[in-house]
Symmetry: C2
């Protein structure tokens, strides 16, 4: 159920203000709003009312693998560490890993994430319980045993049943998540495109993440991954393309014309050596919608949108050779309003009629001083220590940096991680 909340004594665009959220939507933003019966109120203490972050691409449950395998070649990272661990995956691990991830996102100012992982019903349960928003992908890969479509339909059915069991909360929606063109056949992509069109659902897919993916796709299919997605009917205005590091001019044109969204994951692209995203070419000149994501914690290793914003801006400047490329206000918008729009959520903006997601940023924090430029301070200076309060759908998820049950969530995740990896290499 969406909540109602009165926020007193905040600052917005340099002006003192109150804000009233009714049933999960900003109803009034004005000075001196009176308290109403039955609506809880918080005193912002003069802090800055800012949009909460929306994380465009992650694998939340992989937070259980944070720090499990780093500084390794991709092949041995996957074969020796990640896949052997994931072979032991079960719903309980996904549940505890996702709760840990959501706790981390709340503590770093993020209220929404676009997820792709196995055992989606466990993810749905974690999101529902913790009060966050999410687009949850029913992951699909082709295999050799021919029963994967049936598996996916079963997974999709279970996810819908789980969502119904949660009372069909508006905070959660399901997406189709074919993994990538190198794990899903063109025939299956066509089939998924049809399902998604039928359901008016978002399709979430890794696309053009590495140079190898692109060259392999050209060898196998005679065209780039983006051209293949267009050919299979996947590319459309509800399509979320994770990464988009290696795009040619035709790819950019196809993406722009389809209205699809690219999720730029700078930290992961750097850490795994996937490549340098071409911000100026794709967004500023190419006109594509670009939002930001963290990718999973096995390859990042955190879910802080502050890290993504700073690296997105800095790497775009260095790559273009122009310090005016990717200015702070644009980058902030990619992590808020642009991302909300990409997922069909009227959010990421503090304004009447928008969903009641917000942060209180501590403008008394040292990284926020002096007060010349809020966007520059948010993108280049702040970190999560500046986030005081997090509100999602009108409900306070964090107040003065405390989240309900955080100690238990961390302890349960730590225990789950031990079971997951059976690792004895704990180093604290």
């Amino acid at each position: 159920m969406p909540h109602s909340l009165l926020i007193k004594n905040a600052k917005l665009n340099g002006t003192p203000t109150d804000a009233l959220i009714v049933n999960g939507v900003f109803q009034t933003i004005a000075s001196n709003i009176s308290a109403a019966d039955g609506i809880p109120a918080i005193d912002a203490g003069g802090m800055v009312l800012a949009p909460a972050f929306y994380n465009g691409h992650t694998h939340a449950a992989m937070t259980l693998l944070r720090g499990y395998a780093d500084d390794m070649e991709l092949f041995s990272w996957l074969h020796d560490c990640i896949w052997p661990a994931e072979a032991k995956l079960d719903s309980d691990l996904v549940y505890h890993g996702t709760r840990l991830a959501i706790l981390e996102m709340i503590k770093t100012g993020t209220v929404f994430f676009n997820d792709m992982y196995w055992l989606a019903p466990a993810t749905i349960r974690a999101v529902d319980e913790m009060g966050a928003r999410a687009a949850i992908g029913r992951i699909f890969t082709d295999g050799s045993d021919g029963k994967l479509r049936a598996d996916m339909l079963e997974n999709a059915k279970q996810s819908e049943a789980e969502l119904d069991a949660c009372g069909g909360t508006g905070r959660i929606r399901l997406t189709y998540a074919p993994h990538a063109v190198y794990t899903v056949s063109p025939k299956s992509l066509e089939w998924i495109a049809e399902q998604a069109r039928h359901d008016c659902a978002t399709v979430h897919i890794h696309a053009s993440e590495t140079a190898k993916e692109v060259s392999d796709c050209i060898t196998a299919n005679g065209c780039t991954p983006i051209a293949l997605l267009a050919r299979c009917g996947i590319l459309g205005d509800k399509t979320i393309l994770a990464h988009g590091v290696h795009l040619n001019d035709d790819d950019i044109k196809l993406i722009r014309e389809s209205g699809a969204t690219i999720v730029h994951n700078p930290c992961s692209n750097y850490k795994l050596c996937s490549g340098q995203f071409h911000y100026r070419k794709v967004k500023e000149l190419g006109g594509c919608r670009v939002v930001l994501g963290t990718d999973g914690n096995a390859s990042n290793n955190n879910l802080s949108m502050f890290d993504e914003m700073k690296l997105a801006a800095l790497s775009a400047k260095l790559e273009s050779g122009d310090p005016s490329c990717a200015p702070a206000a644009d980058v902030w918008r990619m992590a808020t309003a642009d991302a909300a729009a990409a997922f069909g959520i009227k959010g990421g903006v503090i304004a009447e009629g928008y969903v009641g997601d917000a942060l209180l940023l501590d403008n008394y924090a040292v990284q926020m001083c002096p007060e010349y430029n809020l966007a520059a301070n948010v993108v280049y200076s702040c970190d999560t220590s500046c986030v005081d309060t997090v509100i999602c759908d009108g409900r306070v998820l964090m107040r003065h940096r405390r989240v309900e049950h955080e100690t238990e969530i961390i302890a349960a995740a730590q225990e789950a991680a031990h079971r997951f990896t059976a690792s004895s290499k704990h180093t604290y």
Copy 2:
């Protein structure tokens, strides 16, 4: 005066431990150390005892210009914004700007910084009062009026007098800080090299930061900045070269053989488009000592060594195309032990006989879970919200994220910033 402190109930290398600092030096690290008369004790509550950070290059007082001018071309950034502001600089502004910077460094786990800025006596006073460590540069640039050497000697004298007035604390040392080869003539560099040799002092200089600096130097002097520094007698094992972005093979050889230290400032190099530092070539293959710095807040825009460590590691991986380049443990050492060694401080390591600088990292923080790999969590996941306690020279500078007088320091800095820039563009 150095302090004594007993730290009870910490964790080191996965083992519960106590640690006793006597007169600013770790004397005993063992289990169950008994409290001694007159030595204050703190309970670490099971947190991780870790080395504090050492910031290899900054301009602390420029924190007053954080967010004042961003996303601009270098030339208009300097001419239209930074230099007009700096024309109004006075000791009071430097004092309040430096206090703000030191507060930020303490809150982000840094206890030492290597500074280069005007009006050094004001910096000395701020460092002394706030209990940090610093190497403070007496900045030097040549000018057209011929009296700059006299000015610098006067500045040097005043700095020494200020340091004497502080009781000659061992936490502060003075360095010679010729600004760069494009602002200091070869003749003046030779003269400074002689002074520094005579005083056994560190020389701190910007070197090979931009491609333009290198090509201009070749045009003017027939050699690279590094070769020029070698020729002028500046290059030696007490020399700190800030940036070193554009180095050829001969430069790298000269630096390695001289024992000089390069301070890598990844965030600043990216934000100002100075260039990509060649980590593998310079450090892993070239064998040079490389440490990390934040540069000033006008071009970063924070002083968090967490941001520098993460970008140093990630950018080295992408540039080399090898995810095993710049592993977490190496990068963490660059921000701690390697930096301490570069400044002749026996620090950056938690061990008996080393200076009593340390952090308590909150291993119950969400970014620290799971506990597979402390170095990976510190470099890739943590941010300043994970730093609970900061100790310098045996004295507790931050406890449970609170620093003495922080509200007053921020308020005074905010007021100083208003006076500095006479700016009305406050946006909160």
